[in-house]
Symmetry: C2
């Protein structure tokens, strides 16, 4: 049985750690928040005082921190994990980061004899806890085979994108670009429909059963109808993902007009103070512009 470390036990990392514990793995965790460490300890994890200490006892190190800056710190900062992870160890990068960063990270780790799996996840905290995440995987066949039991414990949909780290992140941000645009379009349509005098629930039901439907529409608009903006995924996260997408598109000189238009809507919503609300609250920004009242308000 592999020894697994999880760095970053927030909403997603905690679910990953608990899924691994449930599957019988010895799990070591590291976070900067004591309450998260307490929760993981109670679930059976070994809490480590540093990333370096955690990595010393690991075969597979899963990084589920927020962004590339935290990833770099966890791996290469003071008491970073890259020094102590044994040769042949594998870093599984689950954060959503710039694809070029992920590709470069794989090379930096390879220079130390470490392999990397580019392994961004999708599905949210509830599916992380259930061990039923989606994963977009890019890495060598040997790394994939070595990590197979770990992958099976945390994700039930595992897409092998390619053998090149970076491609998992590319697939992830392209998917999230679509999620972001489709949600913005859903909000634009709902606000306009209400402005045109249509009943929000009726319009919702029609679209869910028609050609205008999308995964984001079906998942987020029911929250709007109930006036429930409790954050499951904060609006600022899709905003960040769209920024990463624009950066990647610019790097290959590819025009992305809709992604840019959507990104403007998200950044405007963040500027209006909606960044920490559920991303369904993007509709609040459209409701102001359309001059309409939303259900439940």
């Amino acid at each position: 049985m592999l020894n697994v470390g999880v760095i970053g036990i927030g909403a997603m990392g905690m679910g990953v750690a608990k899924s691994l514990l449930r599957a019988g793995f010895a799990v070591r965790v590291r976070d900067i928040r004591a309450e998260a460490e307490d929760e993981a300890r109670a679930a059976g994890a070994v809490v480590c005082a540093s990333a370096a200490g955690l990595a010393a006892g690991c075969d597979v190190l899963i990084s589920v921190v927020v962004d590339s800056a935290q990833t770099d710190d966890a791996l290469f900062g003071e008491e970073g994990a890259a020094v102590t992870l044994g040769a042949g160890g594998i870093v599984m990068l689950c954060s959503t980061v710039a694809p070029d960063y992920a590709a470069a990270l794989a090379q930096r780790l390879a220079a130390r004899g470490l392999a990397m799996l580019d392994a961004p996840v999708s599905g949210g905290p509830a599916r992380a806890l259930a061990g039923t995440l989606s994963m977009m995987l890019a890495g060598s066949d040997s790394a994939l085979a070595y990590c197979a039991p770990v992958l099976q414990a945390v994700a039930d949909r595992r897409f092998i994108i390619s053998s090149r780290p970076g491609d998992g992140s590319r697939a992830k941000i392209v998917n999230n670009m679509l999620a972001g645009v489709n949600l913005a379009a859903a909000c634009e349509a709902m606000a306009l429909g209400i402005r045109l005098g249509l009943d929000a629930t009726t319009l919702h039901d029609v679209i869910c059963a028609s050609s205008g439907g999308s995964w984001m529409f079906g998942d987020r608009m029911p929250r709007v109808l109930e006036g429930d903006y409790t954050p499951r995924a904060a609006l600022k996260i899709l905003t960040k993902d769209l920024s990463l997408l624009l950066e990647a598109a610019a790097s290959v000189e590819c025009p992305v007009e809709l992604a840019q238009a959507a990104h403007r809507a998200y950044t405007d919503a963040v500027a209006r103070g909606l960044g920490d609300e559920d991303d369904a609250a993007l509709l609040k920004r459209y409701a102001v512009l359309a001059g309409v009242a939303l259900p439940g308000t």
Copy 2:
């Protein structure tokens, strides 16, 4: 059993007429194309030489012509149907038209003692032929009740939007706006993904199973993967629908940034000569901009 007339037996109207014949209705048809009339006659319809002649024997007149200009001509032009349709007759308007036009048409018909059902449809020719269209209905309770057997014969999903003609068309164009934006976003994402080096089929499979999925993505992108652009719905149709949406949004001074960005992409694609191809061919426009080759080309 009601006597039903169908004016405009193109891809959609022909399916409506045949579904009614199958359900046992006496069906009268009118079209400007002899080959369509021949096909309907062979299926059991009575072919009429004018809209006026058709309407003289009808309880319910279904208009499935292309746009509001053809609608006006069929109803109020020389030998138009509105003069001969008996008092109490009902006009069911299935074309996608400007909502304000539909609302005004109901008033013009009411002045002649005729009722109108605003009844735009969705689902395409195959579902029209199967009698399983979606319908977005707006009209009085009495008109809806009178037409119930007709509606049941042609549509298996019938959404009552409101009692005000115009609202059916409003729901339709808001739905189609989402269909149009989601398809444009799907094309933008696929072109970018290929430009970033991802395999088109793999990216398709990931998105279909993830948060970026949409009805349009799942329906149209498989055509792209097969290089099949045989027109089921021509690209110019969604272009027209987006124009109607922009007009309706402008009439209530509601900003629709994504719909505008998508409309620019569609009009650009039409300018490139893609208007009569399947709307999945919108991706060809994005492929040129991204400098990538599409599958099957």
